[in-house]
């Protein structure tokens, strides 16, 4: 069942919240060893909350808009229950004293959080192999990666372990795994969702968003988690529209922009064909497809990997073994304590990015790297502003390739970084990006279409995505062995 169907069923007492949650827990029990989607499961707590919801429904008391839905949150969002590990050894024992804003909002809406999902350590990666616990596997083919860094959340939804999940997206970490696992994922506008309680990777790029089976479910989750939060100075106060009610908006005269030229180097033929076919679906339904001119797009990856690593090097400085988290056993003096704890606590990719970022911010290099990247970022944002004067949304592939084999790219970080070509510019410009399934390759692996809209135009983006799902059935396909 989809999220929307589940909520309706619980509300109509066709099934109980306890049944939904138990089913979810059973599925996790059955599949998690194979998929590695969850780092921790909070079964008893989830059932208790489900019983409470059922009791309220039985008494005719009001319940929240997500009542009865079993959901998961990525393990880089703080919860006052269980652990918050970021899939890192350095936080393997970390228990947060507070809930992230999105966790508060989900629970206030009576969603039941069943557990916390696996990810690339501190959300750094595009394959979910950089988890210090175990890699996440793609349910369409478990020899392949599910994408990342929100691979656990994507797989939990794709395999039917939960009805919806939250991920975080710094350079594509929601959209790319959504594409590689055949589900829908949204990176909202920067400032749309509070980051309070999201363990920071790159503060100016990070944004929390929903992953679900279809656009309607995605809209339903966004409505709950969006909105201003005084605890996050970068969250924005503009009103939250009723996204689900606006899904059927009239799209007559829709203009879709497509980045000029090909979709960049390294684009898989089948991905290219599927994306073009998807544009054909829109064209056949009256949309105008035009070229969008984004001249600075080619600098996006270089720009992204300077800004993201620079911010990460600073954000991750606090994990030093002094105040919380894991401290190295043997050390001599404070500097050694720092070095040993960080050496043992961080994985390869995290260390690589901390070093890159530290270098980019160092005296004498700052102007050439970080400052220049900020300037490019401004130009890129202007590109999008100008483009959106001509078009309503911009379309592109999400990932240039479909799910690749575990281990295939892990020793070639540059190749892995370059695969973020279509997603990073959305974070740099702070705009909204949606990933929806638009086909399968010859191996039966899902392909994603990315749609991008201006700041705070999520309702437009969701309506355009919803239209596609009304005309196609890719989003209804499930991987083998899913529940």
């Amino acid at each position: 069942m989809t999220l929307t169907e589940t909520i309706a069923a619980v509300r109509a007492k066709r099934c109980s919240a306890v049944e939904v949650v138990q089913q979810s827990l059973d599925a996790i029990e059955k599949h998690n060893e194979r998929l590695g989607a969850f780092i921790s499961v909070e079964g008893e707590r989830a059932l208790q909350r489900a019983r409470d919801i059922d009791a309220r429904i039985a008494k005719g008391e009001p319940v929240g808009p997500l009542a009865g839905a079993a959901v998961a949150v990525k393990d880089n969002m703080c919860t006052a229950f269980g652990t918050t590990t970021c899939a890192s050894q350095i936080l393997s024992n970390f228990r947060s004293p507070y809930d992230a804003a999105v966790v508060e909002r989900l629970e206030a809406a009576d969603a039941v959080i069943v557990g916390k999902t696996n990810l690339d350590e501190f959300a750094m990666g595009s394959s979910s192999e950089n988890s210090s616990y175990c890699p996440v596997r793609n349910p369409w083919d478990t020899t392949r990666v599910p994408g990342g860094s929100s691979g656990g959340s994507a797989v939990a939804v794709a395999a039917g372990l939960v009805q919806g999940a939250l991920g975080s997206d710094t350079g594509g970490s929601i959209r790319q795994p959504a594409a590689l696992t055949g589900i829908t994922g949204l990176k909202p506008t920067y400032g749309r969702v509070s980051r309070h309680g999201l363990v920071a990777f790159a503060s100016s790029l990070d944004q929390i968003g929903p992953l679900a089976r279809n656009v309607r479910d995605t809209a339903c989750l966004l409505k709950v988690i969006a909105g201003h939060d005084p605890r996050d100075s970068t969250s924005v106060g503009c009103a939250v529209p009723d996204y689900t009610a606006l899904l059927g908006a009239d799209l007559k005269g829709l203009t879709i922009g497509v980045a000029a030229g090909d979709f960049g180097k390294g684009l898989n033929d089948e991905v290219c064909k599927a994306v073009e076919a998807a544009l054909g679906v829109y064209r056949d339904n009256g949309a105008r497809i035009v070229e969008a001119h984004l001249p600075h797009m080619k600098y996006a990856i270089a720009c992204y990997y300077l800004i993201a690593t620079a911010e990460a090097s600073s954000n991750l400085a606090r994990y030093d073994g002094v105040h919380y988290g894991v401290r190295a056993d043997r050390h001599e003096g404070i500097v050694d304590l720092y070095c040993a704890s960080r050496d043992q606590g961080f994985g390869q990719e995290v260390k690589r990015r901390i070093m890159l970022g530290t270098f980019a911010l160092s005296s004498g290099y700052y102007d050439a790297y970080y400052l220049k990247a900020l300037k490019v970022r401004t130009l890129l944002a202007r590109d999008f502003e100008a483009a959106f004067e001509q078009v309503d949304v911009i379309a592109s592939p999400v990932s240039p390739v479909t799910a690749f084999k575990l281990g295939e790219k892990i020793d070639d970080p540059l190749a892995m970084y370059l695969a973020d070509i279509h997603t990073t510019s959305v974070n740099l410009a702070g705009i909204a990006g949606l990933s929806i399934p638009c086909g399968f390759d010859a191996d039966g692996l899902p392909i994603g279409l990315q749609l991008m809209a201006p700041h705070f135009a999520e309702e437009r983006l969701l309506a355009v995505g919803h239209q596609f799902q009304c005309l196609t059935d890719y989003h209804t396909k499930h991987p083998p062995q899913s529940t």
Partner: protein, 491 residues
């Protein structure tokens, strides 16, 4: 060796703790002396996932200081992260302001050798304080993070200060300013002000100028230490140059030194060249600060008049001495009270004397301020008027004032109930004179025979009359009667 001309160049970096109720980026209370780690939350502990939210009050207070220091206020300011690892810094970066400080390019005028000296202010920026590492347990370091996140304003001067005394005056005047504005308690005991002088000297020898390397003395927390450390450094640097003519800026490294208060010397810490690379970059968790005209206007209207200007006005308008004006303008509430008392119509000459000689002493004895004594402007004005019309003597007014904080009675009622209404009855006065003349024959003789001592003796006798009368005698009348009686005796 020909004589050397020495010109010290001193600049100051001063950290002032802002008097906000809560910390700079979270809601924790700022409180001195609380149980360690009891005034902390996930934000100031730097827990994963937390975000800073600016305390607007800290901006208000800092703008007020910026205006008082004649600075330009940066309309578009921002926050930067300063990275270094230390256990008392939970995030391992400090949120500060790097290239766009809140205020810049101002000046502060201080009295120096009888005139005013203008010391230029380079910048003033806001930053969060760190916690404290406590090393008093052998083998381990304890960390108290109560102070972490406390708002500080760092004020940096140009090297316009030319002596230890001038630096001392600057610091005390700045303390007066910030307490006057109410932007800081300015308590040295609580570490509300910390000083870091940068010192070097120009040695002029045979028409050639040599500049010694710049020394920064870290973390001084008393005015006395500022003076001593600068004096010490000036001598040390001159001696250093005399011993080695290559001890000049550029040839020898600039240094950070610490002040050893026990030995009264500065001690080498590290060369400046080994300074950290702090890897400053804009804090992406905070939005830039936009200060518009409306905001500036609001602060200007709250900060009506700065102390130096007010002191000058009190001298010019009320004819106060510099010293009295200085005392009365030392804090804003006292100055406000003074003007409120004058507004009741009380005479300025008496009110100013009573402020400096009576009310200040009573307030000090009670460890409070004049404004908080519980005596309002109306009653203070009445007391001054009683002296003016001669109902009570200035001495009696002292006694009445002593009682006033503990009662709501008018001074006149107190004068009556305490029996202090001045007696101008000649008979009663003559009786007190008889008593005093009989008890002080020696002084009376001095007054009669030693012209040089006459006026002192008369003063003494008058004091004795006031004493035996219990303050009720009119001192003017007493003086006249004493002189009359002496004149008769000498005839």
């Amino acid at each position: 060796m020909s004589t050397l001309k020495i010109t010290p160049l001193v600049g100051l970096e001063i950290h002032v703790q802002l008097a906000t109720r809560s910390k700079l980026f979270c809601n924790c209370t700022v409180e001195f002396g609380a149980k360690p780690n009891s005034r902390v939350c996930p934000v100031c502990l730097g827990m994963p996932g937390v975000l800073p939210v600016i305390n607007k009050r800290a901006l208000d207070l800092s703008i007020a200081v910026g205006l008082a220091l004649n600075c330009r206020i940066t309309r578009h300011s921002k926050w930067d992260r300063k990275s270094y690892y230390y256990p008392d810094l939970p995030k391992n970066y400090q949120i500060s302001q790097y290239d766009l400080p809140l205020a810049h390019d101002g000046y502060f005028e201080i009295p120096s050798n009888g005139s005013m000296r203008r010391i230029r202010i380079r910048r003033a920026h806001i930053e969060e304080d760190a916690g404290k590492n406590i090393h008093d347990t052998p083998g381990c370091t304890l960390v108290d993070l109560n102070r972490a996140g406390t708002p500080l304003l760092e004020i940096v001067t140009e090297p316009d200060i030319s002596s230890a005394n001038e630096a001392h005056t600057f610091c005390t005047e700045l303390q007066r300013l910030v307490t006057y504005l109410g932007v800081s308690e300015g308590s040295m005991q609580k570490g509300h002000m910390r000083f870091e002088p940068n010192i070097n000297v120009i040695v002029e020898h045979s028409g050639v100028e040599y500049r010694t390397p710049i020394v920064e003395v870290k973390n001084l927390n008393s005015f006395r230490a500022v003076r001593s450390a600068i004096d010490y450094e000036i001598s040390r640097q001159v001696a250093g140059w005399e011993a080695d003519n290559d001890y000049v800026l550029g040839n020898r490294p600039n240094e950070n030194r610490g002040w050893n208060d026990t030995r009264q010397v500065t001690e080498f810490q590290r060369p400046k060249e080994a300074a950290h690379d702090y890897r400053y970059f804009p804090d992406p968790d905070l939005v830039p600060v936009e200060i518009d005209d409306h905001w500036l206007q609001r602060i200007r209207s709250e900060v009506t008049e700065f102390p130096l200007a007010r002191r000058g006005r009190f001298v010019a308008q009320y004819g106060l001495t510099d010293a009295d004006a200085d005392t009365i303008v030392s804090d804003r509430a006292t100055a406000d009270l003074f003007e409120a008392v004058l507004d009741t119509g009380a005479p300025v000459s008496i009110v100013s004397k009573q402020f400096v000689n009576i009310w200040l002493k009573i307030a000090n004895a009670r460890h409070t301020t004049m404004a908080q004594l519980g005596v309002d402007a109306r009653r203070m004005g009445e007391l001054a008027s009683l002296v003016q019309v001669g109902t009570v003597s200035p001495t009696a007014a002292n006694q009445i004032a002593e009682r006033m904080p503990d009662t709501a009675d008018t001074p006149e009622a107190l004068a009556n109930s305490m029996g202090l209404v001045q007696v101008q009855d000649i008979k009663a006065m003559e009786k007190w004179l008889d008593e005093v003349f009989a008890a002080n024959e020696r002084t009376v003789q001095d007054a009669l025979t030693k012209p040089k001592k006459a006026s002192g003796s008369i003063g003494f006798l008058r004091g004795q009359v006031m004493r035996v009368s219990g303050g009720k005698a009119d001192p003017g009348l007493a003086g006249e009667l004493i002189e009359e009686r002496l004149k008769k005796m000498s005839e």
